[in-house]
Amino acid sequence: MALPLARPSSAPAITLAPPDAGPRAAPQPRELPAWRRPFLWVLLALIVGIAAVPVIVGSAAMREEFFLILMLVIMATSINIIMGYTGYVSFGHVVFFGLGGYTAFFLMMKLQVHFVLAALVGGALAVLFAVVLGSAVLRLRGAYFALATIGVNEATRSVVMNVEPLGGATGMFFNYAIYGQYGGAKMALWLAYYAIVVVALAAVAASYFVRRSKFGLGLMAIREDQDTAQVLGISPARHKVAAFAVSALFPALSGAIFFFKNGVIEPGTAFHLLTSIEGLVMVMLGGVGTISGPIVGAVVYERLRAFLLTNPLFSALHLAIAGVLLLVIVLFVTAGVVGALRQRFALIRAYVE
């Protein structure tokens, strides 16, 4: 049993298996490198397949509905990276949506920047903001962090409302001539749809690779016990800020696309706190800390909301019902839909993450 535990780092990593280690399980599927495991590819193919339906059918109504669902998927998936993996509940996450939207809108409207470039600049700015903001507020733990993010969102909205070049409280709106360079307003709507599909795919892929990476393992260690994680060699500040930056990028891109399509941006819709709270409900509903959970949660929540809003009996009550739903999840199904299924059925566990 003399094992060279502190051997020089140049030595191969496998030398210390004792010869009599006994039968160990054959190589498990877990050992495959992240990008070679089928789960991600199946999931992305599924999203592409479903997203292609409105394009094939040519239905604008269906396109708009799918656009909305994909936006929610992006918000929920992004919140899950900071909330589910890292354990920090970001209540005011919509601030990145608004920031990306405003930046891109301003660039497109005032400086005639191309939509794609404007969206990327909006995303970059949101990431930068997340790094600066995260360095400060991610020192806070638990409820204090959640409250701080709400404060940041409300403060940002107030600032934007008082900046005249951004249109102040009334916001900004496009001259429709802007859509000319994209082949007219109708083509621009399709362009926005393709863009949101791409961003949704990127968000899901990012969520997957973070979850399966060493970086993600560090995040989960911090979620479980930050002090222990640090004693094990993890730099909590660096990990948390990086996670926050990743989770800021996709909502910002989605905000840029949404307001490009909308043609109008105002502080009330761009920094609407309800948007991020609904994002939290979707994450909890689908399964916090899982990859497919936020997607399932976003789809189910959107369908439910659509049903309630169009139903004369419930239309005034849809937020109350969302609140009750959250309460039920928190009290009885803490793992969410995907989490509960994973706990119940071993077969699902092997294929659903």
Binding site: L5, A6, P18, E224, D225, D227, T228, A229, G233
Partner: protein
């Protein structure tokens, strides 16, 4: 010297937890750190691995000053620690816990290489079959071994063991002692806090005694256990001290004496003077 603790003082407000403590640990040694409850042993560990920055004095590790560095920087330089109160990462599997140690410790391994190291270390501490369970589902003895496995997986130069034997039954203690010996044979230096006197005496090359934040003695187990100031502060009765020493010299036999087992709980915490 692997570790040099030089004139370290640690104050918390008006309380002096450590007072000008000097301690050297040489490469390959097992050094036992003993003393009554509240003597500052765990505080000393916290200062060494960067949880606290010392109020005065400095700490050198492999010739480099590490006092004042944050805990994760100290961990990356090759200091690993098993906590007295076990702290598994509950919602992660046993293997993932150990992989964290290997990934972020001294060697900063990739996930894949860390997985291989984790399997080996889990074999070593006999937790291999629990590899996929959630760490929160382990019993106390298994959590202690997980704590040790996680520390070992980082391939440390120096291992800080804070009462890894506390709460284990005699069979488990014997197993753990075997593991610690094999760790040392692998070239890891060990600094251990332990109340189980026969274990300290049989394992340690040197013993350091703390009392009220001061180092009151150090030397071979024999010298320390016959030191009058140590007996007064910690061991209490010279006859019991002699008995510890005698037990320490016997090679512990897992299959053997029932009377030894019966005696152990009484000997487990001789220093609890409160």
């Amino acid at each position: 010297m692997l570790l040099e603790v030089q004139h370290v003082t640690m104050r918390f407000g008006g309380l002096v937890a450590l007072e000008s403590v000097d301690l050297d640990v040489d490469r390959g040694e097992i050094v036992g750190l003993i003393g009554p409850n509240g003597a500052g042993k765990t505080t000393l560990f916290n200062v060494v691995n960067g949880v606290y920055a010392p109020s005065e004095g400095r700490i050198l590790f492999r010739g480099e000053k590490i006092s004042g560095l944050p805990a994760h920087q100290v961990a990356r330089r090759g200091v690993a620690r098993a906590h007295q109160v076990v702290r598994p990462l509950n919602e992660l599997s046993v293997k993932e816990n150990v992989v964290v140690g290997a990934c972020f410790g001294r060697e900063q391994l990739s996930l894949r290489a860390a997985g291989a190291v984790a399997d080996e270390v889990l074999d070593l501490v006999r937790l291999a079959e629990k590899s996929d369970s959630l760490s929160s589902k382990l019993n106390v003895a298994q959590k202690k071994r997980l704590e040790l496995a996680r520390a070992l997986a980082s391939r440390p130069h120096l291992l800080l063991l804070d009462e890894v034997l506390a709460g284990l039954n005699p069979t488990e203690v014997t197993e753990m002692l075997d593991v610690i010996r094999s760790v040392r044979q692998g070239g890891v230096t060990v600094l251990m806090i332990e109340h189980l006197m026969h274990a300290v005496m049989s394992l340690s090359d040197r013993v350091v005694v703390l009392d009220y934040g001061r180092k009151i003695a150090q030397g071979t187990p024999e010298a320390v256990s016959s030191d009058p100031s140590v007996i007064a502060a910690y061991l209490g009765d010279p006859k019991i001290a002699a008995q510890f020493l005698a037990e320490g010299e016997e090679t512990p036999d897992p299959a053997a004496p029932a009377d030894n087992e019966a005696a152990e709980p009484a000997l487990a915490a001789p220093g609890d003077r409160r």
